[in-house]
Amino acid sequence: MIVYCLCFVLFLTGLYGVLTRRNLVKIAISLSLMECSLFLFLALIGYTEGGIAPIVDPADPVKNYVDPLPQALVLTAIVIGLATTAMLMAVIIRLYRKYGTFDIREIKELRG
């Protein structure tokens, strides 16, 4: 149980960062921390005690494998995370060129 709790603490650390940091890059980092914790969380769910990696040896097929489905989900989620990070970094670099700062308090065209 303790690993799940620690994993959730990592998620919450990222959440804390998103809520309190005022720097665009720090916000992006916090989001990627949250993402990492979620990947870990899914992988933890799939683990079986004494299981082996889900690669079948045709000579000796029946074994105790770990659950392959969460791994497939994490694979999908990692690529989605890469895509999100790339988009976010593109917007950040663009905003930096426009404003000359990463500070979110100075970027406020939109109010009201």
Partner: protein, 512 residues
């Protein structure tokens, strides 16, 4: 199996890739291909609406049949509810694509725009047709990422800022959803919505259940911009190009927000009273706070964006009342009425809010400003825009001959019959404030002519834009027919049945 079901997703995706390939040689290709694709999809969706009715179609992707009653592949499901949302997506989509043809010529790189537009449509169709919770997440990301890029399409300061805000909150929403999915998988070891329902109906732990529900409500509520989570919506919707604003406001928040919330909370979870009260409270807050925030706005598109929050509040409030009644297990016909009101308002909102954003775009196209104080006297120079915006304004404020009146009436009647008198009164008050707000819009935009301003240079917008607006205006009037018996039974009843009958959806998989 209906072989059309995967085509709803695959045609727009393939079209998007094709546009990116041919965009280097022929720029004109994208705009016509997008319109063609969406016309085909709109025809398909109307055909599906006609044939679906009470029969739900389950499409097993990859041909993987369930093993011992447990699904092992991804299932696509088309039922009475998803087919309605599918119609909204593709019909508003084709009009927005048509509207884009002249509008988007002011921007560079047209083919990127059309490609992202197709990806957004494909993603939304994928969300609506999916019967698998992780699949919903994946297609939600397709449509969300394309909408992030479309919001920033003009790459000006405010557009980038809006896109950044939207991306951060959208990513947070995705993480909440993914955490919810992980927790669901941890408990149930399955991802199929109907199968999860089967597991939950054998017993569940109350705290766990509440936690998962709150996570998913938070995630999809962020996508739907319900009131504590609404911060991104006014910025994103007002910064995007106008056809995209119409898509985001008229379709996007419904397909990936409201639709999924309703689907999950009725068909995946067993309806419990505490979460339905929470949903009703959030709906009421959205309805009331949204309209108050809208009062002080002078930017047309921000004003419309805040009204979107408020009108979505009506939908959530109404379905919330239905959920409370179902959870209490009494008067199912009033619950059905409340849900019918919510669904009807969902359809109507797509028509009139899409039309209003088209009007706002037309005004901006012609005058070059979005500030209400700077425009005026457009009634003479832009007759089509004036007439259609009048229809839409009256419709959103609930004036009798138009569609908005009937759905609001059903919602208010259902609230009164269910005994929520205060909510019914609040709904009436909000409707009156909405009317005041739109009278202001009409007066400042079309009549109140400021001095030292000649309206000679303001011309009516090009023909495709006028065509889209007129069709939407006609839809606004025709949709009120949905309230009448005969039509209501054929279109709204199947959707209500699939939501209110606790066993109907999950029996799709087990076949019992």
């Amino acid at each position: 199996m209906n072989p059309l079901i995967p085509l709803f997703v695959m045609i727009p995706l393939a079209g998007a890739f094709l546009i990116m390939i041919t965009g280097r040689f022929a720029v004109w290709f994208g705009r016509y291909l997008t319109t063609l694709i969406l016309t085909v999809l709109a025809a398909f969706s109307i055909f599906s609406l006609a044939v679906t009715g009470e029969n739900t179609a389950v499409y097993k992707v990859g041909g993987w049949e369930p093993l011992n009653g447990i699904p092992i592949g991804i299932h696509m499901v088309m039922d009475g509810f998803s087919v309605i949302v599918l119609c909204i997506i593709n019909i508003v989509g084709v009009l927005a694509a048509l509207y884009s043809i002249p509008y988007i010529k002011r921007y560079t790189s047209e083919n990127y725009y059309y490609s992202l537009f197709c990806l957004m449509i494909g993603g939304m169709n994928g969300v609506v047709l999916s019967g698998d919770i992780f699949n919903i997440f994946v297609f939600l990301e397709v449509s969300a990422i394309s909408s992030y890029a479309l919001v920033a399409f003009g790459v000006e300061k405010n557009e980038l800022e809006a896109s950044f805000k939207y991306q951060v909150l959208g990513a947070l929403a995705s993480f909440l959803i993914l955490l919810g999915i992980a927790l669901i998988y941890w408990k149930t070891k399955t991802l199929n919505i109907a199968d999860i329902r089967e597991v939950f109906s054998t017993g569940y732990d109350r705290t766990y259940y509440l936690f998962v529900q709150i996570l998913l409500l938070g995630g999809f509520g962020l996508k739907a911009a319900m009131i504590p989570f609404h911060a991104w919506l006014p910025d994103a919707h007002s910064s995007a190009p106008s056809p995209i604003s119409a898509m985001l406001s008229g379709v996007f928040i419904k397909a990936v927000g409201i639709y999924v919330i309703i689907r999950l909370f009725f068909n995946m979870f067993i309806v419990t009273e505490n979460i339905s009260i929470l949903i009703t409270v959030m709906g009421t807050l959205s309805m009331a706070v949204g309209v108050f925030l809208a009062i002080g706005q002078w930017d047309i598109k921000r004003l419309l964006a805040y009204h979107s929050i408020s009108q979505m509040g009506y939908v959530i409030l109404s379905t919330g009342i239905g959920m409370i009644l179902i959870a209490r297990g009494k008067s199912p016909e009033i619950a059905a009425l409340a849900i019918a009101g919510g669904l009807f308002h969902l359809v109507n909102h797509a028509a009139f809010k899409g039309l209003l954003f088209f009007n706002a775009g037309a005004i901006e196209y012609s005058t070059g400003t979005r500030d209400l104080q700077e425009m005026g006297g457009l009634a003479g120079s832009m007759p089509a825009t004036h007439a259609t915006s009048f229809i839409a304004s009256m419709s959103i404020s609930g004036i009798p001959p138009f569609n908005g009146f009937f759905s609001k009436l059903i919602i208010i009647i259902a609230a009164i019959m269910a005994g929520f008198y205060l909510l019914a009164a609040l709904a009436v008050v909000v409707s009156i404030i909405t009317l005041a707000s739109f009278l202001k819009f009409q007066r400042y935009a079309f009549y109140n002519k400021p001095e030292n301003k000649d309206d000679k240079k303001n011309k009516e917008v090009p023909l495709p834009m006028v065509f889209s607006m007129v069709i939407m205006g006609i839809l606004c009037i025709l949709l009120s027919l949905l309230a009448f018996p005969g039509i209501r039974e054929t279109i709204l009843e199947p959707a209500i049945n699939i939501l209110t009958d606790p066993l109907k959806y999950s029996s799709l998989i087990t076949g019992s």
